[in-house]
Amino acid sequence: MAGYKGPGLRREAHLCCDPTHPSLSSSQPVEAKTKAQGMSHQSDVLPCDQLRDQVIGNQSSHTQLMETLLHLRQTVDDCITQLTTRPPQLDLPLEEQRHNQATGEQEAFLRRVVNLLQSGAMWGLGLQAPRPTLGPRDDAGGGQQAQLSRQLDQLVHQLSHLEVAFVSHDLSNRGIDISAFERSKFQDFKTYQGDKYHEDKNTMGFINLGVSENKLCTDLMTERLSRSDMNHLEDALLQYSDQRGQPFLREEVARFLTYYCKSPARLDPENVVVLSGCCSVFSALATVLCDPGEALLTPTPFFGGLVMGSYLYSKVELMPVHLDSEITDGSARPFQLTVDKLEQALLEATLKGKKVRGLLLINPQNPLGDVYSRDSLEEYLEFAKRYNLHVIIDELYMLSVFDDSVTFRSVLSMESLPDPNRTHMIWGTSKDFGISGFRFGALYTHNKEVASAVSSFGFLNGISGITQYKLCRLLQDREWIDKVYLPTNHSRLKAAHRYITNKLKALKIPFLNRGSGLYVWMNLKEYLQPCTFEEELLLHHRFLGNKLILSPGKTYMCKEPGWFRLIFSDKPLPLKLAMHRFYEVLAEQKRDLRVKQLEDPQKE
């Protein structure tokens, strides 16, 4: 696992809120906020870093610093008083309300700045010496730091720039964003839909190892779904149902999760809400937990599709917690999530004026395939509790842990949750049962308010009664799941995984060897020169040119270029052909790199 060349602290940073200039305190945060909304790509910098540096540089500056802080607080307080002299009025038009809200946000932001400056200073003053490795490193060409901030927006915009400037007189701005997103992001998917690989009819078509679908057990699934018990019909299934989902399905989901998540107590159907897919559950949750512009912390790389869309629909943002491929002293394995990293990301986000409302965890992780240990999970939850953050845990792959030596622990298996009212679990049948076309997702939450609010989306994100019935029958059939489906599915996943990983080993391609999920996360950095996201994209297009779809790491907000996710849960024949194409592309790429290497010195 190759690491970074030059770990180092950012020191060129200028101060965002210069404590030596109290006059800035009133104007600067406001400007920072405008900047964030105006999608500034300028590097936002962490005053805390600077403070820490100062502190380390000169311990005697302590008193001076505290004085400055007091002064700053005074100024901020004045500013707040000024801002809050306008009483909130409910009957004002929306613009006015928004204005007031914005003012409130500024106020909250200012308070936070002050608190953080203080806590940051305290932290630097000896509670803990900052480790040099903690600072984000600048490796992949300058843009990294900027990308920390509005990465999501940027990505959307970069994607939209792929298209010839798209203008529409009919769509709203958000409609244009949504449309541009569709046009760029799913161009591949559309091309693929039109020219799909087929064993007999289209052997030259696209093989899709980019979309996370399990195609290994369609025979079992088709057989099970064709049995006569699936086709029951009654009038209630054709009528409006409880918006949270049909009671029979919610009961079954509660039983199912109690059993497969090994919950210490029986789960309550009243805590279950079912919607049309996990995207819907996530989107509804994000909407009711966060106001527009507020954010969720997310360890990256992570599956971007889920949240990308939510950003478009509900304007909830993501603050990435960047993980390193390199093993550092605080971590035992590559891309390991630590509480330190969470703390740092939260601090950074808060200093940027982002209100962080929660933490999004995916377990088993996508695209890494990592499974969180019980202890880590508990630490993350404790961290969230400390800061009153919601935790959304996506356990979409919980039954796709195919390596017996890996023990998956669902969050619902914990004896006691640190903050049950802020812990929300999502599961669906798309991955574990290979039926993404069913559009089914479930939320389990102890928080009645959250469950009710999410239920409001039952109309907009509802599931057909007929589908709900079939799902109920499926989840009920424990005998078939335990004796037929899961063993077969796991052994097929294992075989496909072994096949792919052997190929990768033969090609000397580094990858994460995990025993869960439908994917392998691999490092193709060797094939990029220079190692940039542009080159990554070019390589991706080269794969596409050879009718092979993989997902480049950029899609997962991975901060290091060169990583790709490959889906291995496809039938042996297409998988073999795909690896053949894969090999060809890499060989071609290698040849080109060699030519480039030879040419470069000549140019000089």
């Binding site: 613009e95 409609g175 897919g277 993404s436 989306f457 994100n461």
Partner: protein
């Protein structure tokens, strides 16, 4: 054109208040049968109202975002009647004194036909492609079938294109997605009121888009007019009013056949409304979810897709679903037809939230394809049953001397119960509704449809005979001031089919 600067501070007159009840004089038009008349009110009628779904709401939740609090409030308030209903649902055998639901607009008359059709072997196909991620717009086979279906039943002059079809899980989702991709936060759509109130929520939940009500009057103003008639003039006034408050209006929602009025727009009216929208560069969303539920042959229904030439095809978006016309609201199948590719693409990219199971998509394609069954079995039978149920309820209301709109479309009757509200206030309206509920019959009150006159109620008649009769009996008891409830057998002169799997009998009721 209407690039009015967005004003910040002018307060909209949001509260409908008890201001305007008009006098309905003796000229009642063909539809509205009136008995009572009220004193003229001196106040000027309100012409429009800017909806603010969050007015008067304050959140005190520590766990939810502020919009989350509002969304939960939506849920809580919507639930009020329903929770009561769901906890005490009428069942012929198990709970004969339970609540009868004449409030939800569902067609429960044809389950026998539907379940038979949906159980045929062609419906039960399972294949891998149906289990995997589809094209987000919907499977091509279904979009093609929808295009053919709409070409035929909407009588479109040229064949409609599958490329213009997007499939979603119900019309609620179509509203939500359209609102999001057409409007910025806080912008608005015009909608003639009374209207199907849930739309407020549909456009608000994700989209944060508001509705501006174009208030219609029960009063008949001229010889060729009808109660609650929509005119271009009213649209203009409402648009101007909203603009003057700094509210940017992006579109117009038309429901045709109208819910709750049951009205049908003539081609000429439709054309006028579309021209109005074009003049102001407004999108028009035409909700035709009841288009095949026009059960009166004399009513000449025309879909917007049947017009020879749309004034502004790029801004005209049509929605339809199987919920009402095929009595399967629980199936969650809705569709958008728009020639605007940008809009179709943008809506399609939101379909990951509004998708429909592949197996159900297959079933829908099979259903829509079966023209023989639809034309020869389903539609004639459905219309006959709707007509019989309508005739029965209309007769009951006449017997009570209750004026109502008698239209030949939809599942509901819009009834004027103003004579039961001495003060003519919305509080009284709500109290009367509560009294109905206490007497185990759930109906919908006018305020839920943003009707500006208190005292109107919507009664859904598309239910089986035994429930309908019992429901109407309870309605009568409440209105006649009799308080004893439920246990007595239905007073109507039908024999209830005890076997629920048998076809329901037609009503043989003498309308007094």
């Amino acid at each position: 054109m209407f690039a009015l600067p967005e004003k910040e501070s002018r307060a909209p007159s949001t509260c409908p208040g008890p201001a305007s009840t008009q006098d309905l004089d003796s000229n009642c038009g063909d539809g509205l049968e009136r008995e009572c008349s009220r004193k003229p009110d001196q106040k000027l009628p309100e012409l429009y109202g800017v909806g603010d779904p969050t007015a008067g709401f304050s959140s005190n939740s520590s766990h939810l975002s502020s919009r989350g609090g509002i969304i939960k409030w939506f849920w809580d308030s919507a639930e009020a009647g329903y929770r009561t209903y769901h906890m005490d649902e009428y069942d012929e055998d198990k709970n004969p004194s339970g609540i009868i639901n004449l409030g939800t607009s569902e067609n429960k008359l044809c389950f026998d036909l539907l379940s038979k059709r949906l159980s045929q072997s062609d419906m039960l196909r399972v294949e891998p492609a149906l289990l995997q991620y589809p094209d987000w717009r919907g499977h091509l086979f279904l979009r093609e079938e929808v295009a053919r279906f709409l070409s035929f039943y909407c009588k479109s002059p040229a064949p409609l294109q599958a490329e213009n079809v997007v499939v979603l899980n119900g019309c609620a989702s179509v509203f939500s997605a359209l609102a999001t991709v057409l409007c910025e936060v806080g912008e608005a759509f015009l909608i003639p009121a009374p209207y199907y109130g849930a739309i407020t929520q549909h456009v608000c939940l994700y989209g944060n888009v508001r509705l501006v009500s174009v208030y219609l009057d029960s009063e008949v103003t001229g010889p060729d007019t009808r109660p609650f008639q929509l005119t271009v003039e009213k649209l203009e006034m409402a648009l101007q009013g909203a603009n003057s408050q700094g509210i940017k209006v992006k579109g117009l929602i038309l429901i045709n056949p109208q819910n709750p009025l049951g009205d049908i727009y003539s081609p000429a009216e439709l054309q006028n409304f579309l021209e109005f929208a074009k003049r102001h560069e407004l999108h028009v969303m035409v909700d035709e979810v009841y288009m095949l539920s026009v059960f009166e042959e004399s009513v000449g229904y025309r879909s917007v897709l049947s017009l020879e030439r749309l004034p502004d095809p790029q801004r005209t978006h049509v929605m339809w679903a199987t919920s009402k016309d095929f009595g399967m609201s629980g199936l969650r199948f809705g569709t958008l037809y728009t020639e605007n590719r940008d809009v179709a693409t943008a809506v399609a990219s939101l379909c990951r939230y509004h998708g429909l199971s592949g197996l159900v998509q297959h079933q829908m394609a099979q259903l829509l394809r079966d023209r023989d069954w639809i034309n020869q079995v389903y539609l004639p039978e459905n219309h006959a049953r709707l007509k019989a149920a309508h005739t029965y309820v209309a007769g009951e209301l006449r017997a009570l001397g209750i004026p109502f709109l008698s239209r030949g479309a939809g599942f509901f009757i819009w009834a004027d119960l103003r004579k039961y509200l001495p003060e003519g206030s919305f509080e009284e309206e709500r109290r009367l509704w509560r009294r109905f509920l206490d007497h185990k019959v759930l109906v919908s009150f006018g305020k839920a449809f943003e009707c500006k006159e208190p005292g109107w109620f919507r009664l859904v008649f598309s239910d089986k005979a035994h429930r309908l009769c019992l429901g109407m009996q309870r309605v009568r008891q409440v209105l006649e001031g009799k308080s004893q409830v439920a246990e007595d057998p239905p007073a109507c002169q039908t024999q209830e089919p005890r076997d629920r799997h048998r076809e329901p009998r037609r009503w043989s009721i003498n309308n007094k």
